[in-house]
Chain length 531, copies 2
């Protein structure tokens, strides 16, 4: 067999002909193009640019950008511009996302080159071909993603490759681990740090704001970093913000936690599992939510946030994320498996998700419900209270000193005695109290039941409330951007309702929002009634 | 069981409060933003726009745009802009792609709304979940794609869902059919219209330009619509353009075909299988090329172009698209299956793809090789001649009057007698002759063999030539944009080569291209030598 050698490098005659003069021509001047390309690095090149012509760059090509320093190049997707007002032919336009990473002033000389696809893309191709990936592959993918080496379509390819049947539970663990490893992690210096997560989809489900004061009143640590709403009418951070400051720096968080054993803050500033944020930016418009991605997303964020004990709430309902008991149980087992592997003490509760929890939907309306429960007010929504007590009971039992089965009673005592309310007041004080305004929006409209065709039927019963549609109406009314906007439910499942009686009230601040919400309710009011 | 009714529509008190005044506020002024988003509809909204604030639009959201007329709305992906120079808050920016579809002047009042995902996306989700899709599903997907209702990430999701093991051969047929149905089709009014397609990846493989004159000289119809190079250093259209006009209108094509029984033109103007063009725009940056997509892509284009008989060339080689005989056979059977189902008379030949065919790589260099073969010139590349004769032989046997096994001899006669050359001259004349310039680029550099370490070995043998790398070097040199740029191979597989002897010459027109090509050859010269 012959001795095979790669005949590299070849002899280059007159290699010094590659002069600096030639290289100089390749420089482009940096220019900021104030377009928010949402977690994708995009650069713009003018169609008349010499480089575009000679190098065979094409729109959607990946290019690497160097500023001459020793820094590793940045990778971006190329868009082509035809307008000199936007960009001159000798300029390279940088979208907001990459301009910030570049961290060089406009006018800086840069060079661009064809970029190879990220090395880890071969793992994505293997995944697409049905192979199982190991820890190292997931880590390589997450590293490339967090360093902005993946375009949106490459991320889409990864997500679809991992979707549905495509991911073993051991792979979910590998991905979770990789997502934690490629971000920052918090350490609170406590051996028992509890957290709770609901997989979502149920409007008004503001139990977190009840659990935190109950649990902290018992003395356990519950540092709660929450999200703002993305597709829902209110996130916990939006709702807490009605009462207190939620945008706190890490030092302040530590101070509040030390003093009150809890906080309810916005987690968006910390780079906890940043890969998750990037994946979600693509998952959302794709309407993809595969179990593997969901589990890695939730658990990586919790581990990174320094939780040791976690309660997961899976609501079931026709318009919830999970629609059947068997689906919920399957998901529970996956959570348990990955939780165990990653060293979280994890419990799952399966709850009723057939309708919104509480009556208010929208930040101020939900905050009002929460405070009514804490104040043991006679018109507090009972379902919100009851669900919070059950979840709190499970979390309290993470405490080795709480006897199995006693959590619920303990939680009820903490709530009924006013100790939870007191703790909430202290937390609000410590975070920085807002002058809470529970007054709903000044534009108000009742959406009423109309079911009679013959005039015979006088009353009906609420059979179901479409979680998705009612959330949509609240969003159109202005929630969560306008804290006072949203929906207040007068009737819930099982309630009797008379012809013409109000099912709910829409609240808005702005006439255009108001009209859009009413139009949406007009098209589909989210209620199913039985006569 | 109770009688379930959807209590819609609800009673809307004072419905006339939705005034025109409110609706007016929602209007945006159209503005063209000269960014080429490459087959994706993108619109730009200013972050300070009232609508962005109140409606909860987010970057990457899909929106629908209406201009008040009865036309169906256009769908686009939203990008957010922070710079008033680019866009005012009351404006809606349209990328080139969608501005052309909108076909309204700048300043036109439009409204935007949240768009639902395209209805067919549910089929994509089913495909991702591992289900088999039927004809109707593929048709619905293709219709939505051709109407620009899919974002790039949704297309990526579809492609990945279909990739590899994910597509049954009956589904490949469904997709092919749907791709034909959603574009235009040509009908030449002849019962035997032949075509040939190579699945690609082999530089210099310009057999089409030999087949067409040979086949037409025999009197068969071969209307050849070819592509320009996308990722290769030359497409057939680029190479033919050295000799003749290739951008011909449909009437001209018919005229040339009637007179000469053949043409070699650029197919880019016809909307043949436009879905294919859109899918390729995403496949390419993803480096995806699944068998199902490849087959649907090739066969839909051929059926739409009016072919009745088709020869498929599958080259095998370590640096070709297909690397093994078993892989090639598997692919052949898929081509045969889908070809039969769609009513094409289809034959597949498996050929040697271990190195480039011919010696020239780049439009002018390849055109020169072709003409040398037609002219029976003593320095014509023998491998190109031989391959063309073999393929032509198979195509000639599509003619019922040609006896099985006689095709090759017939082809050789047509070539050796000068009849093929004559036909080529007539075709060139009919299409519009160019003043052919075969002179390669004025910047020239030999890339030479260097393998001696000890000074003992005086000669080596070429073991392999990396198709991909040599194509890359030719592209960097300027091909296909600069017709005279490219690479000319002095040594091919099996040739003896002495220390310091030239393996190939790089030709370029521009110094910067020249330097880049040399630098690439310096890094990896594409040759493997054995001592």
């Amino acid at each position: 067999m012959p001795d095979i050698v790669k005949s590299n490098p070849p002899i280059i005659k007159n290699a010094n002909e590659i002069t600096n003069e030639n290289i100089e021509k390749k420089k482009l001047k940096l220019r900021r193009v104030a377009i928010d390309t949402y977690k994708e690095n995009v650069v713009f090149l003018h169609r008349e640019c010499d480089l575009y012509r000679s190098e065979g760059f094409q729109a959607l090509n990946k290019v690497e950008i160097r500023d001459g320093a020793d820094k590793p190049p940045l990778i971006a997707v190329l868009n082509i511009v035809d307008d000199c007002d936007l960009l001159e032919p000798q300029e390279l336009g940088l979208s907001e996302q990459i301009f910030q990473q570049m961290d060089m002033p406009e006018g800086t000389d840069v060079t661009i080159n064809h970029a190879s696809p990220p090395a880890s893309l071969r793992h994505v191709h293997k995944k697409i071909a049905g192979h199982r990936l190991d820890d190292a592959a997931y880590l390589a993918i997450c590293k490339d993603i967090v360093e902005n080496r993946y375009s949106k379509i490459e991320i889409a390819a990864f997500l679809v490759g991992c979707a549905e049947s495509g991911m073993e539970r051991e792979e979910m663990y590998s991905l979770t681990q990789a997502m934690v490893a490629t971000g920052e992690t918090l350490n609170w210096g406590e051996s028992l740090v509890v957290d709770k997560h609901c997989i979502g989809g149920i409007p008004g489900n503001r139990t977190t704001m009840l659990l935190v004061p109950i649990i902290a009143a018992h003395g356990m640590f519950m540092p709660k970093t929450s999200s703002r709403a993305i597709t829902s009418p209110a996130g916990t951070a939006d709702t807490m913000e009605v009462l207190a400051k939620v945008d706190l720096n890490p030092d302040k968080l530590r101070e509040v936690l030390k003093k009150e054993h809890a906080f309810i803050a916005w987690g968006g500033n910390a780079r906890l599992s940043p890969v998750d944020d990037i994946l979600i930016a693509v998952e959302r418009p794709l309407s993809m939510d595969s179990p593997g991605q969901m589990i890695a997303s939730i658990l990586s964020k919790k581990v990174a946030a320094g939780s040791t004990h976690l309660l997961i709430d899976i609501p079931i309902g026709d318009t919830a994320k999970v629609r059947s008991q068997s689906e919920a149980v399957k998901l529970r087992k996956l959570f348990e498996y990955v939780g165990d592997r990653i060293g979280l003490h994890l419990e799952v509760v399966i709850t009723d998700g057939r309708q919104p929890i509480g009556r208010g939907i929208g930040p101020a309306l939900e905050a009002r419900d929460v405070m009514k429960v804490l104040q043991n007010s006679p018109d507090a929504p009972l379902d919100l209270r009851e669900k919070a007590l059950q979840l709190a009971g499970r979390i309290l039992e993470f405490d080795p000193d709480v006897r199995g089965g006693q959590g619920y009673h303990l939680a009820r005592d903490l709530l009924d005695s006013g100790r939870a309310l007191n703790k909430m007041k202290q937390i609000i004080q410590a975070q920085g109290e807002h002058d809470a305004n529970f007054e709903p929006g000044k534009l108000q409209r009742d959406i009423c039941a109309e079911f009679t065709q013959s005039g015979q039927e006088k009353s009906a019963v609420v059979e179901a409330i479409d979680n998705f549609q009612i959330a949509q109406i609240a969003r159109l009314a202005g929630a969560p951007m306008d804290k006072q906007a949203g929906v207040y439910l007068h009737k819930k499942v099982g309630d009797k309702v008379n012809q013409g009686e109000a099912l709910y009230t829409i609240y808005a601040e702005f006439p255009s929002d108001f009209d859009f919400a009413i139009a949406a309710a007009n098209k589909n009011n989210a209620y199913t009634l039985s006569i």
